[in-house]
C-alpha cells in the first residue's frame, strides 16, 4: 500500500496554487486524511499534488458580518474546539466532533471534508442544515455556492477543475435556536450509517422554521423540506415531532451496503430525526 508517484508542489500563495492547479490539473492536498488513504490503496492516482499547507493565512475561524467564516486550512479539531463556533454555532462543533478521531481531526480540514463530498460525512450534512455557503476561487474570480448546490453526488461537487475551496461560512444562529446533531455509526468515529442535523428556530414557543438535514441516506446530504414544513408555524409537541420524523423518510434515497440495508437506513432516518428534533426542542426550551 504505497502511493503512485506524483509531482509535488507546495505553493506559498493562493494565486500560485491556482496557477499550478490550472497548469497541471493538480489535485489539492490539504489535510489529506481522505485523499492519502485513497492514494495508499492506489485507488486515487493523482499525477500532480498541490499541497496548500504552506499557504499562510488560510487557517482562520472568524466572525464576520453575521457569519462564521472558516478558512481552507482550518483543521477540523480547531473548529470543534473554537469558542466562537461553540458560542455561535454549537451544531457545527458537535457535528465535527463525530468526524473520525481527534488525531484525524487534528490534520483534516473543515473545507477539505466539504470538497471531498462524502455523502455519509458529518460536515457536509451540517453545512446543509445551516444553509452555509462555500466560497471557491479560480484564476478568474470567486464563486459562492450554497451547500445544497455544491454537493452533486458521491465525492462529486460543483467545483470546476480550476477552482479551489477557499472558505466555508455559516450564518450565526440566533440565540435560543434549538439544535441537535445525532449520529448512528457502527463504531465511534466511523462514517455515519445515518446522521441527522436539526435546527428549530423558535419564537415564543412556536417554531418559526425548522431545518432537517441527513447524511448517509442518499448520494449527497439531503434536506427533508416536507418534514420541516410539518413543524413550521407550529408549537412542537412530541406527536408533531413524530409526525415530522415520519415524513423525513420521504426525503431519503438510501443504498444498501454491508453495514446497513436501505430499509434500515430509511427507518433510522425517522428514528434519529425524532431523537434529534426532541433534543433540539429541549435545547430551545432549556436555553443551551
Amino acid at each position: 500500500m504505497k502511493p503512485c508517484a506524483f509531482e509535488y508542489f507546495a505553493p506559498g500563495s493562493v494565486p500560485e496554487a491556482l496557477a499550478l492547479i490550472q497548469q497541471h490539473q493538480g489535485k489539492i492536498l490539504a489535510g489529506g486524511q481522505s485523499l492519502i488513504p485513497l492514494m495508499n490503496f492506489r485507488l486515487g492516482r493523482p499525477e500532480v499534488l498541490v499541497d496548500i499547507n504552506r499557504i499562510p493565512g488560510l487557517d482562520y475561524i472568524r466572525q464576520h458580518d453575521g457569519t462564521l467564516q472558516i478558512g481552507a486550512l482550518a483543521r477540523e479539531r480547531d473548529v470543534e474546539l473554537s469558542p466562537l463556533v461553540r458560542q455561535h454555532c454549537p451544531l457545527l462543533a458537535e457535528a465535527v466532533s463525530h468526524v473520525g478521531h481527534s488525531t484525524i481531526r487534528n490534520r483534516g480540514t473543515f473545507c477539505g471534508s466539504i470538497a471531498h463530498a462524502d455523502p455519509s460525512a458529518e460536515i457536509p450534512c451540517a453545512m446543509c442544515a445551516l444553509e452555509g455557503t462555500i466560497k471557491a476561487v479560480s484564476p478568474t474570480g470567486e464563486t459562492v455556492f450554497t451547500a445544497e448546490e455544491f454537493f452533486l453526488t458521491y465525492l462529486t461537487t460543483a467545483l470546476e477543475a480550476d477552482q479551489m475551496v477557499i472558505e466555508a461560512s455559516v450564518p450565526l444562529l440566533p440565540p435560543g435556536t434549538g439544535w441537535s446533531f445525532v449520529e448512528m455509526s457502527r463504531r465511534s468515529g466511523d462514517f455515519a450509517i445515518v446522521a441527522v442535523a436539526t435546527l428549530l428556530f423558535m419564537e415564543k414557543g412556536v417554531c418559526t422554521a425548522a431545518r432537517i438535514a441527513l447524511a448517509g441516506v442518499a448520494s449527497t446530504p439531503v434536506r427533508a423540506r416536507d418534514a420541516e414544513a410539518v413543524l413550521a408555524g407550529q408549537t412542537p409537541t412530541p406527536d408533531l415531532i413524530a409526525q415530522a420524523a415520519a415524513v423525513v423518510v420521504d426525503a431519503t434515497d438510501p443504498e444498501s451496503d454491508y453495514h446497513a440495508s436501505a430499509d434500515y437506513r430509511r427507518d433510522m432516518s425517522r428514528v434519529l430525526s425524532q431523537r434529534s428534533l426532541t433534543e433540539a426542542l429541549a435545547r430551545a426550551q432549556g436555553g443551551n
Binding site: M1, K2, P3, C4, A5, F6, E7, Y8, A10, G32, Q33, I36, P37, N40, F41, L49, D51, N53, R77, G100, H101, S102, T103, I104, N106, R107, S188, G189
Partner: protein
C-alpha cells in the same frame, strides 16, 4: 532516483535531514531513512493509529502524510518521551498498569495520550477512551491502557 527532495526537520529535539521522493510516506521516511523504528506501521490508511506521532505538537498519523510535508517541522516520537534513562510518567504508568502486551500499538497509544494530557491534564475515563479510540489494540481490551493514562494524569511529575 527520480525527484528526491531534501527534507530538514527536527525529531525529538535533534536536527535531522534526508532525501525522499514526494510520494514517500512520512512513516517510511522516519523508519527507513531516519532509522527511528519505534513508530509502527499497522494499516497505512489512517485507522489503526499505530503510526501516530506528534507533528508540530499535534498528534498525527504519519502514514497519512508525505515526508516532504515534514520539511521544517518538529516531530516527536516514542523515542523522544523518556528523559535520559528516566521513563516519562506515561511510560511508567503503562508499565505499572500493564498498558501494553505485544507493544505494537504502544507508540500510537503513548503519543495519543501524551497529546491528550498536554491539552487536558485531568481527563475523565470517557475522555481517555475517546482519545485512544483512534488507536486499535488487539491485545489488551483497552482497560489497562485507560487505567495507565488515568494513572499518568494523576502523576504530579507528568
Amino acid at each position: 532516483m527520480a525527484d528526491r527532495r531534501l527534507i530538514k526537520l527536527t525529531v525529538n529535539g535533534v536536527a535531522c535531514e534526508g532525501y525522499a521522493e514526494p510520494r514517500k510516506l512520512l512513516v517510511d521516511f522516519m523508519r527507513d531513512d531516519l532509522e527511528l523504528m519505534g513508530t509502527h506501521v499497522g494499516c497505512e490508511h489512517g485507522v489503526c493509529g499505530a503510526c501516530t506521532i506528534l507533528f508540530n505538537g499535534k498528534a498525527a498519523r504519519s502514514c497519512l502524510m508525505f515526508a516532504v510535508q515534514a520539511d521544517g517541522a518538529e516531530i516527536m516520537t516514542i523515542e523522544g518521551l523518556a528523559r535520559g534513562n528516566q521513563l516519562h510518567p506515561l511510560q511508567k504508568a503503562f508499565r505499572e498498569n500493564h498498558g501494553l502486551q505485544c507493544g505494537f500499538c504502544t507508540p500510537g497509544m503513548l503519543m495519543t495520550s501524551y497529546e491528550l494530557l498536554q491539552e487536558n491534564p485531568q481527563p475523565t475515563e470517557r475522555e481517555v477512551r475517546q482519545s485512544i479510540a483512534g488507536v486499535l489494540c488487539r491485545c489488551t481490551g483497552y482497560k489497562q491502557i485507560v487505567d495507565s493514562v488515568l494513572a499518568a494524569a494523576s502523576d504530579p511529575n507528568k
